[in-house]
């Protein structure tokens, strides 16, 4: 089966194992208990944005090892099995560095040497936090490696590498134990592992994000000295894969948040009375809410389709063809859905919606944040057009 194009056939693979269904149930239950809306609000002004005890419980549940092969201490359930977990987290706006740490693990798994895998992957399973430092301009697009952050001090391949430059919007930087940094290494894109302990003092300055449940920082890597074995040997393919996996995981999280937004709207529409009627009886509120449901349903179908294709493919092979299409479609759909849902959530709450106390605020801000992570909808549609129409 191939992707829908001029040749007229479409890959609509969708499967979900009993094991995955159990994982989804347990993730739903965990997130709902550990991250009710009061817990979420209590973390808004915190430095780390998450509760370390909850993170440790997630590690204990094995979530950090879901997509890591057994030989590195993981549970080898496949990357697709991260989707139900991340969707559940999105549904309850549960913070923690699970997404970025999963991406760091995948970068090492896909791009790293055997020594790097053996060193880092068991640590990640055990709760060590890795973060991706990819951005050096505002565009998640093609210029990623065009701006240098590293200089080799000499062209001798065994010599030390000295980094210079900053990365923007490094997720959960303050709690990261290490970073996977995209660098311009002698004119070529590369990924390097930098340990937090290698950073200079004050290298991390927190960003102010529109989504107060998220954390990111600008990280200055200048002056960090690396030995050549800090570089990932297969950086280029890993970088491409990470961007697609990142898009999918953000899509999964956004789908969960769309479902939460829908719950929030439905709850208000079935309790608030105006002009003598429950406001959910007005079609001007009822029908757009139905639209949100339908779009959320589309998002969910697309993220689990992408999850299915990821798990059908080789454990480490590159993301190509239908899998790339599926990740991009999922991201384009899921964050557009959440943008619509968040916007309507505020509007439909009326005066209450305009306050910081109303939970709609959390969803509209998450929507704004999510649309820009790992490429916005227009960016992914542009790439989909190249994949499907040329």
């Amino acid at each position: 089966m191939t992707t829908s194009t001029l040749n007229g056939t479409t890959n609509i693979a969708l499967s979900f194992s009993d094991e995955q269904a159990m994982l989804l149930d347990s993730a739903k239950s965990f997130c709902s208990h550990k991250s009710d809306i009061n817990a979420v609000r209590s973390l808004l002004k915190s430095d780390s944005g998450h509760n370390p005890d909850v993170w440790q419980e997630m590690v204990a549940l094995g979530w950090t090892g879901i997509a890591i092969p057994e030989q590195y201490g993981g549970f080898a359930m496949g990357l697709g099995s991260m989707v139900p977990v991340i969707e559940s987290m999105g549904r309850h706006l549960l913070g923690t560095a699970l997404i970025t740490s999963t991406l760091a693990a995948q970068a090492i798994l896909r791009g790293g040497s055997e020594a790097q895998r053996e060193k880092w992957l068991p640590k990640i399973v055990a709760g060590t936090v890795g973060s991706m430092a990819l951005l050096d301009n505002e565009d998640w697009g093609s210029k990623l490696c065009g701006v240098s952050t590293a200089n080799s001090s000499s062209s001798d391949s065994s010599s030390k590498i000295v980094l210079s430059g900053k990365k923007l919007l490094v997720a959960d930087a303050t709690v990261a134990d290490f970073f996977i940094v995209s660098i311009n290494h002698s004119g070529n894109p590369a990924l390097a592992i930098v340990e937090a302990s290698q950073l200079t003092a004050n290298a991390i300055s927190a960003n102010t994000l529109i989504d107060e449940t998220k954390r990111a920082a600008t990280v200055d890597f200048s002056g960090v000295t690396l030995s050549p074995d800090a570089l990932l040997p297969q950086s280029e393919q890993a970088l491409k894969d990470i961007r697609l996996i990142g898009a999918l995981l953000i899509a999964a999280e956004a789908t969960g948040t769309s479902a939460a937004t829908l719950d929030c709207i439905v709850s208000y529409l079935t309790s608030r009375i105006q002009f003598g009627r429950l406001i959910g009886s007005y079609q001007s509120l009822k029908h757009p809410t139905v639209d949100i449901l339908l779009q959320m349903d589309s998002s969910r179908s697309l993220i689990y389709h992408a999850a299915t294709l990821l798990d059908k493919g080789p454990e480490i092979g590159p993301l190509e063809g239908d899998t790339e299409v599926a990740c991009r479609m999922a991201k384009a759909q899921a964050t557009e859905t959440l943008l619509f849902a968040g916007d309507r959530a505020v509007q439909f709450h009326g005066g209450m919606g305009f306050t910081y106390d109303c939970d709609a605020m959390l969803y509209i801000r998450r929507a704004q944040w999510a649309q820009h992570q790992y490429g916005d909808a227009q960016h992914h549609r542009l790439h989909l057009a190249r994949l499907l129409l040329d």
């Binding site: 995955q20 009886s281 349903d297 989909l384």
Partner: protein
């Protein structure tokens, strides 16, 4: 598609080969997309011949009992045959009310006499069936049905009128919902369900000209039309329940219908092919960035629609709103097609102002007719506005208007 086992895979290629060998030559007129477009004897004869041929080859009613014209095989084979017919875009099996509604109902509820009498004629296309639910001025509100059926000795006397009777002017039988008890406390309890003959005195039909300029529906008038009392299905007053029962068969062969494809669907591929052929400022439209962005939006939507049909089979992924996909299916797909077809027309440039019958149209005016005809799906069977209410109230639990 599910994974085929060996015998299924072999059957699939056998069907495909037969369809490719036997698909009819271009008849010189636009093929109907749906059974609602049978507006002339010419089209009727063409489709009757095709359905008879498919049935004769053994690819229709495969899961119906052998003694009534079927093949007595597992439903999986009919599903495979349907999939192949859909994929190869052969003409529709047009006797849809018989194949998809009346037939399975008779199989489930009918007497041996009824099965003997009706089923084979449905399959071999000799007996065309129509449906008499909707009435003028009552739109989607079946509870308001006014057509009366009064018991008179061994007969019922029928008076009233029905609208949107597809092929009413060609049909031999009608599944008819009529009011036997006007005094019933709850108005749904006063309805009864009949397998009514159409060729009796007092029944006349008036073709309705559609927005497309073509025919396909009739209004049907009953004036003291006398039908045998044993035409009733079930008991008096059970009509509503039986009518609702027919709706479950709509899901196709797997739910008991005879099979065959009832809609020749226009898919995105057709639109992509069109965009590849049309030029703007010397470039194929398919290269225009704005058009590409719009096409990709539709392709994402189409993919999600197709995936929804798969996801419905995975309960773990439908927990929060278990009936969402099923209850919103009509709304999602019919509105998608409306917007997609309207968009297709917007791309045609000056040729888009032509219509079916003009030699310079793109695809014979296929898109023009498809867009206009699509309103039958966003209006008929409950308008999209009513569908949105149904989803809002029955899926999300929002209050009634």
């Amino acid at each position: 598609m599910s994974q085929d086992n060996a015998s299924q895979a072999e059957f699939r290629s056998q069907v495909a080969a037969w369809m490719q060998d036997n698909r009819p030559a271009d008849p010189g007129f636009l093929l109907p997309q749906t059974f609602m477009e049978v507006g002339s004897e010419q089209v009727l004869d063409f489709l009757r011949e095709w359905q008879h041929k498919v049935w004769s080859a053994g690819y229709l009613g495969m899961a119906w009992p052998k003694e009534y014209g079927g093949q007595g095989m597992s439903r999986d084979f009919q599903r495979i045959a349907d999939e192949e017919m859909k994929r190869l875009q052969v003409p529709i099996c047009f006797n849809v009310i018989g194949l998809g509604w009346a037939g399975p109902l008779i199989l489930d509820n009918g007497s041996d006499y009824e099965k003997e009498k009706y089923l084979k004629g449905i399959l071999n296309a000799e007996d065309i069936w129509c449906q008499g639910f909707s009435e003028p001025n009552h739109g989607s509100d079946l509870g308001s049905i006014q057509t009366r059926a009064e018991r008179d000795g061994d007969d019922y006397l029928i008076n009233g009128s029905k609208i949107w009777t597809t092929m009413g002017n060609y049909a031999k039988y009608m599944i008819l919902l009529a009011r036997t008890d006007p005094q019933a406390e709850r108005r749904y309890n006063g309805l009864s369900f009949f397998l009514a003959p159409m060729q009796v005195d007092g029944i006349s039909t008036q073709p309705i000209q559609k927005i497309t300029g073509e025919y396909g529906f009739t209004e049907t008038f009953f004036t003291d039309a006398r039908i045998p009392a044993n035409c009733i299905m079930g008991e008096e007053g059970q009509g509503w329940r039986i009518a609702m029962q027919t709706l479950q068969y709509e899901r196709g062969a797997e739910a008991g219908a005879a099979g065959g494809i009832s809609i020749l669907s226009i898919v995105m591929d057709d639109l992509l092919r069109m965009a590849a052929e049309i030029e703007r400022e010397g470039e194929p439209l398919l290269k225009d960035p704005v058009t590409r962005d719009n096409l990709i939006k539709f392709m994402i939507e189409e993919k999600a629609l197709q995936l929804a049909e798969k996801r419905i089979e995975i309960p773990a992924l439908c927990r929060d709103y278990p009936n969402s996909i099923a209850l919103s299916g009509k709304l999602r797909s019919t509105e998608f097609f409306r917007r997609m077809r309207q968009y297709a027309l917007s791309l045609q440039g000056a040729q888009g102002s032509l219509y079916v019958g003009d030699p310079d149209t793109i695809g014979g005016g296929f898109w023009q007719r498809a867009y206009l005809n699509n309103f039958s799906t966003t209006i008929g069977g409950g308008t999209s506005q009513v569908q949105a209410n149904i989803v809002g109230e029955h899926v999300l639990g929002l209050p009634k208007d």
